[in-house]
Symmetry: C2
Subunit: 172 residues, 2 copies
């Protein structure tokens, strides 16, 4: 079904296949880099990988309950208690009881404050200093592209995110 609409074998359609491969290879390389980055960032934060990843999840998304964290990180619920304990002890997160359902606890990141690390302006939602110094090179990179191209990139990113989220959700 690859060449479904017929394009993949359209004379010089090999170009298209090349692009698929390039995107896949670059994507994999990027994933590998991300893994290493995850550990490097944890290291510099003086956090163990699990605690750090938990914190990233909270900062990049919405507040989560311990049970949710356990499900997403595939940890035992008891483990999450320890993780949140450690993060809370360091003042990085905060436990609040759910207003409606008081057996629930919501874990919220604390002090998500100033910018992306190299910017001091008010940062966007959920985007605190996970990766200090990352913003600038990305801005530089994006200057290379036209508005239309950025449109394409944003669209693609959004859709890939959807695919990945579907995958992540399915595994629960």
């Amino acid at each position: 079904m690859d060449d479904a609409e017929g394009t993949a074998r359209h004379g010089h359609g090999g170009r298209r296949a090349e692009l698929y491969d390039a995107i896949r290879d670059d994507g994999q390389e990027l994933a590998a880099s991300l893994i290493q980055l995850l550990h490097a960032a944890a290291e510099t934060s003086h956090l163990n990988p699990t605690d750090f990843q938990c914190l990233v999840l909270l900062r990049l998304g919405e507040p989560l309950s311990p049970g949710e964290i356990a499900a997403r990180l595939k940890l035992a619920t008891g483990t999450v208690t320890s993780v949140v304990d450690r993060l809370e002890r360091q003042g990085l997160v905060q436990r609040d009881r759910h207003p409606d359902d008081r057996r629930r606890v919501v874990v919220r990141p604390v002090d998500p404050p100033a910018g992306d690390g190299d910017a001091d302006g008010p940062e966007g939602p959920g985007g605190p200093g996970i990766l200090p110094g990352f913003r600038e090179p990305m801005m530089d990179l994006h200057e290379r592209y036209s508005e239309a191209e950025l449109e394409t990139i944003a669209d693609w990113l959004h859709r890939v995110g959807g695919v990945l989220r579907t995958f992540a959700d399915r595994a629960r």
Copy 2:
């Protein structure tokens, strides 16, 4: 690079800023999904997160020495010995001595064979079944785009990979 310098404040240049934000937000969401996916995939592989991430690194890149793995994953060298022991015991990697420098060991993934999980054709270099069933939705997704757009995406992915790799390398 088209209207390079002055565009970000060009009357309705707000559109550009919007796109920057969208790319950042979607990118972060994607990173969060990737973290969850990492643990889910480890779970289904019956591997602990560290072992799994080590395996991914080996499969997605070139064979690495234990010392290299330790540096990239920020682990003690002794830990890597255990990790590789476990992976080797399960037949997932293989230790080879370096031909020239025999105190060195190179860890190579074993049996990287058939496809991406849902494809049976010969898979590309280093791209075994890390994520079964991922190929198809991605192919479907990419059919939405023109060749020129794919060109843009591939280019962007490649360059972002470069930025991330720089970051990962710097932390060593």
